[in-house]
């Protein structure tokens, strides 16, 4: 579904992605972890061509997106919903209008149908009462959920999550994790999640890839990931008090 083939990206004098190759299959929840500056968000931006690789190819459903024209790129992007780190809601619109924006821009749906679909998504994300509020009047967690409602309003095949739980309290973080799992179960959506939070990654991921200094140091299902012999992975796991023993031992979702 998503394929990176020997992708290299240099920003300034730093090689952010160094000959990176991996694949994300349909229906997967693929989690990318790594330290700050490891190239996680850059990887995500390449998937929707917010960035272009210096060399290598990014393909979506077998189609290389590097050289696509504007029309074809629009077609490819219509397969994606993106939840940005800051939720990226337009501040001058209320939550309902933010969620309705893609429908108003890209469909000829009557307004009543738009409102009905928006309300359905808001309900799915427990935001029924927040529709008339502006982004600045709601909490960070609600903003993320509103951003997610907007990301899935066009029923995309793939949803990208850039640090979905950063800046949130542990309870809200777990709630967002549950939402991501639900998206996969209820809507069959393929998800790519970028996060620092290994607890979250192990709970939601069907596969976890770790980037370090622009290179892939591990790419395995959660059970395999925590058993990785790679030193960088081990120190990353230890930094978040995750050991091979305990509840992680029972991980089996793949």
């Amino acid at each position: 579904m998503i394929r990176f083939d020997k992708v290299t990206k240099v920003l300034g004098r730093k090689t952010v992605l160094d000959n990176v190759s991996f694949e994300v299959g349909e229906g997967e929840t693929f989690v990318i972890v790594g330290l700050s500056g490891a190239g996680k968000s850059v990887t995500l931006k390449h998937m929707i061509r917010l960035m272009l690789p210096d060399s290598g190819t990014v393909s979506i459903d077998g189609e290389a997106i590097n050289l696509l024209g504007r029309g074809a790129l629009r077609e490819v992007r219509s397969k994606f919903g993106v939840l940005f780190q800051s939720a990226a809601l337009l501040q001058w619109m209320n939550v309902r209008d933010n969620v309705a924006l893609p429908l108003r821009e890209h469909t000829k749906m009557p307004e009543e149908e738009i409102i009905s679909r928006v309300n359905e998504k808001l309900e799915l994300l427990s935001l029924d009462d927040a529709g008339d509020k502006f982004p600045s009047d709601i909490s960070g967690g609600m903003q993320k959920r509103a951003g997610l409602a907007r990301a899935i309003i066009m029923d995309p095949k793939i949803v990208l999550y850039d640090e979905p739980t950063s800046g949130l309290d542990p309870v809200t973080s777990r709630r967002i994790d549950d939402l991501i799992v639900n998206m996969r179960k209820r809507l069959g959506i393929t998800s790519v999640v970028v996060t620092h939070d290994l607890h979250s990654a192990l709970a939601i991921g069907s596969r976890i890839m770790m980037l370090h200094q622009g290179q892939i140091v591990e790419n395995a299902p959660p059970a395999g990931f925590i058993k990785s012999k790679n030193e960088t992975v081990q120190s990353f796991l230890e930094s978040q008090y995750i050991t091979k023993k305990g509840k992680w031992e029972e991980l089996s979702h793949e």
Partner: protein, 262 residues
């Protein structure tokens, strides 16, 4: 690497960056111009009307004060000189011609660049650093249609309108000073003003205002989109948009005057 080579490399890099930025700004302007046909369509009507309101109505107070005092200062300065030769009756033409040809569009341009242009750069800059522009792109909503075009329509329509308003208030300010400080009656002031100011002066002034509208939109939107480095970057983009707009307005104002009067 030796110092001269490093310097040459740095200068070359800056020239390439300047050309790249100019190209980006021109492409943005061309694309927004193409989208003008949709300005009052279903998807853009609300934003276009909002921008017309922000540019036209919200700037009226400051423009009124500046225009009135510009006319008053012009009348006082020229009137005092002309009085030495007993020719103060000519302040009408001096004020009218100065306002219509130059001061009206110029002062309006500066005020709009400082108020509306800086606000545009700050808003788009904030949207850029908070990933709202990236979100629009991912949703296949073209920022040049969604954000730049309504502002381009608003500024190019409202700049000439506001310039006419500035001209009227400036001439009125001059009349007040003429009547109260220089002993020139309003009737003779107005007669003198209408005798010397020509239609060409008005058209050239309005043409300048229109061009200034394009300049302010292009510079402020481009600076907003180029914003980096969070809140500090937004501050820098805002400051740069005002400075660049001022400079380009000055240069282009001179070139238009030269083109039509020499």
């Amino acid at each position: 690497m030796s110092y001269p080579v490093r310097s040459a490399e740095r200068v070359g890099g800056q020239v390439i960056q300047l050309l790249h930025n100019t190209g980006h700004a021109m492409f943005m302007l061309l694309e927004a111009t193409w989208f003008i046909q949709f300005a009052f369509g279903k998807r853009s009507r609300h934003e276009t009307v909002t921008q017309l309101f922000v540019t036209g109505i919200k700037s009226l107070a400051v423009i009124s004060v500046v225009a009135m005092f510009t006319g008053m200062i012009l009348a006082l300065q020229t009137g005092l000189e002309l009085r030495r030769y007993g020719q103060e009756v000519y302040i009408g033409s001096a004020v009218a011609v100065s306002m219509i040809r130059e001061m009206g569009p110029f002062m309006t341009g500066l005020i709009i660049a400082a108020s509306v242009g800086s606000a545009i750069a700050a808003q788009l800059g904030t949207m850029t650093v908070s990933e709202e522009i990236a979100a629009l792109e991912v949703m296949s909503i073209n920022p040049n249609r969604f954000l730049v075009m309504p502002r381009l329509v608003a500024l190019t329509l409202m700049m000439p309108v506001l310039t006419v308003y500035t001209n009227i208030l400036g001439i009125m300010g001059g009349a007040i000073v003429g009547a109260t400080q220089l002993g020139v009656s309003v009737t003779s002031y107005m007669n003198n003003a209408t005798e010397f100011a020509t239609n060409k002066d008005l058209y050239v002034g309005l043409f300048k205002a229109f061009i200034f509208g394009i300049i302010i939109t292009t510079v402020s939107c481009h600076q907003g989109f180029m914003t980096r480095e969070g809140a500090v970057g937004v501050g820098k983009a805002t400051r740069r948009s005002v400075i660049i707009s001022f400079l380009v307005i000055l240069v282009v104002g001179y070139m238009v005057t030269r083109m039509f009067y020499i």
